[in-house]
Amino acid sequence: MRGFKSSGSRPVAVNMEPGFTVITGPNGSGKSNIADAILFAIGENSPKQLRAANGKLSGVIYDPKKEDGETGTTAAERPNSCRVTLQLVNIDRAIPVDNDLVTITRELKETGENVYFLNGKKTTRTALGEILDLAGLSPGGLNIVPQGAATKVADLTPEEKRRIIEDVV
């Protein structure tokens, strides 16, 4: 992550090993922003799903909000883009790409322009989406469950419950 939400303008990495990983920390520390970064990398475009500030996609770019004269640090310039890279172990070739490691990168510029890379080669959101979809990794996928979703599912009407199962197939 670089310049994505609260991750700040210097690049940071979060390495998750197989097995059971737990993320914890105080309220507002940036836990859910990690989930948003993953959704962003695999092509999520909805400002609401990404909980982007001001309801615009560019709201996911790190904003130090120093403009109101708070104690500005040198690193406080607002970057004009953000980039998230997701690396997935692919030894079982679940993702139809012939590499042991699959690297997906998405960069968003303040202008609204998006650039996607798959293993270092430029690609489009649609092409990337088709490959990831086959591996069960898509922005609307059920494998990423946002805060509050579990209770909402039980509150759906019978009709809505049928519809979400229809969407799964």
Binding site: S6, S7, G8, V12, V14, N15, M16, E17, P18, G19, F20, T21, V22, I23, T24, G25, P26, N27, G28, S29, G30, K31, S32, N33, I34, A35, I38, P64, K65, L88, A94, I95, A135, G136, L137, G141, L142, N143, I144, V145, P146, Q147, G148, A149, A150, T151, K152, V153, A154, D155, T157, P158, E159, E160, K161, R162, I165, E166, V168, V169
Partner: protein, 158 residues
Amino acid sequence: KKTVFMAAFAKIREEFGFIFKRLTDGEAWLELEDEEEVFSGGILLMARFGLKPAWESLSLSGGEKAVSGVALIIAMQSVQPHPFYLFDEIDSHLDAINSANLAQFLKERSRAAQIVTITLRDVFIARSDMTYGVYSAGGISRYVHYKPAAAEVSVKRG
């Protein structure tokens, strides 16, 4: 369309019943409102907790809805394999026993797939293979990781 739907529904229904039994001391099932015209009716989620009678999901308590919802989501995930699973605070409305059952269940499932959960509760941290602590330093998130077995866990202000 109907055959594809029914095949997925049958699998989800079976998984849902199995998962719910693992998470609670009750049982739950899915019912089609209209067995013939599947798409003109909905799906009822019935759940029985402990010695209580069974109720449809809309009449359950906040915590009972959370457990039923999680079981249904995990059942729906089973239709297609996914490279990893990420759950954000699915334990916030659960009491101590339901939280412990859920943490145990996810720990077992993590043998076959990578599972990441975001939580504020120690009951999940204690069972994790690796824990990431996130804290904020002046609006910028920092990430530290440790293996919980050794560390005394507590959530501190960043």
